[in-house]
Subunit: 147 residues, 2 copies
DNA sequence: CCTTATATTGAGAATCAGTTGCAAACTTAT
DNA sequence: ATAAGTTTGCAACTGATTCTCAATATAAGG
C-alpha cells in the first residue's frame, strides 16, 4: 500500500469512515495526475480507468482529501475550483502567465522566512499560504519584443 | 470630481463607454466601502442611497472597475467572489483567520523584495501578486489555550 | 429641436458548478 | 444472519453569475 493511501485510510479511520473502492480509485487518480485539476477533469480521469464512480462522489471525496492534508486548493480558473495533490510535495508558489496561461511553480522557502517573521510579529499561526503571482513569462516577453 | 471618478471616466472613454448615473453610484459606493465586498453587499449599499440600480448592473460594472484598475478581486469566500477598491491603496497581504473569519491586512513591501529576486531569476515580469495566508489570529490562539 | 446610431438598463430567464435527498447496496460488528 | 451505520449513484435542487431582450437614455449631426 502506498504512502498516501495509508495516510488517507488513517484519516478516514479517525472519522469513522471507510476506504472504499471509489475512494481508492479517486485517490489513485489524484496522485497519478501531476497537474492542477478540477472536479470534472478528475472525474474523467477516474472514469477512464473504471466505471466505478459518479461525479457526486468526486465532489464528496475532494473535501476529504483536502481535510486529510493530501490535496490543496489551487488557483481557481474559469469559474471552477481547482486542486492539486500535495502530500510529499514541498509548498510552492504559482506563477501564472496571463498571456499564454502557463503556470510555473517555484519553491516557497525563500519567501517563507519573510512570512514567518511578519507572522510572529502579529502573533499569527500560519497554517496555509497561497502565493500566486500573475504577469508574463519570459517566453511571452520575448514574443512581445518581436512585435 | 474625485480622483477615482476621473480615472473611471477616462477608462470608459477609451472604450467608448459612458459614465452614467448607475455607474457613478456604484463607483461611489465602492470607494465608501472600506472592506472587502461581494456583488450583493455592494448592491445593498448602493440601494440604500438610491433605487437607481439593479443587481445586473452591479455585475456588469464590477469587471469594468477591475479592468480600469480601480478594484481588484480579493479572497473568494463562501462561494462568492469578493472585491476591494485599490486605487490609491498600497498592495497588501491578506491574513485570514480560519477560526473567526477575521481578515487582517499587512503591507507587502518586505515580501516583495524576495518576490522580485525570484522573478528576475526566472525572467518573469510581475503584474499582480496575491498573497493569502490562512491560519489562526492571536485572539483565537488565546481562546484555544483557555480551553 | 429632430433624427439616427449606439450604449445602457432592469427584469427575468438561463446557465452551470457544486450540493443534497433518497433509496438501494455495502460494511462491520454483534 | 441481524442490526446499525456508511456509502453510492441518480436526479432534483441551489444559488451566484451571465445572458437576452425590449424599453430608455445619450451624444452627435443636421
Ligand atoms: Mn501547484
Ligand atoms: Mn484587502
Ligand atoms: Zn507566457
Ligand atoms: Zn481569529
Amino acid at each position: 500500500m502506498q504512502d498516501h493511501e495509508l495516510k488517507f485510510k488513517d484519516y478516514l479511520a479517525t472519522k469513522g469512515l471507510k476506504l472504499t473502492s471509489p475512494r481508492k480509485h479517486i485517490l489513485d487518480a489524484v496522485f497519478d495526475l501531476h497537474e492542477h485539476f478540477n472536479a470534472e477533469e478528475l472525474y474523467n480521469r477516474v472514469k477512464s480507468i473504471t466505471s466505478d464512480v459518479s461525479i457526486a462522489t468526486i465532489y464528496r471525496t475532494i473535501p476529504l482529501l483536502v481535510d486529510a492534508g493530501l490535496v490543496q486548493q489551487a488557483l481557481r480558473s474559469s469559474g471552477r475550483d481547482r486542486y492539486e495533490h500535495i502530500y510529499g510535495h514541498p509548498k510552492h508558489i504559482h506563477w501564472l502567465c496571463k498571456a499564454c496561461g502557463a503556470i510555473v511553480e517555484t519553491d516557497l522557502n525563500t519567501l517563507m522566512g519573510a512570512v514567518r517573521e511578519q507572522a510572529s510579529l502579529m502573533g499569527f499561526r500560519v497554517q496555509e499560504t497561497e502565493i500566486s503571482i500573475m504577469g508574463l513569462c519570459w517566453k511571452c516577453i520575448d514574443n512581445e519584443k518581436q512585435i
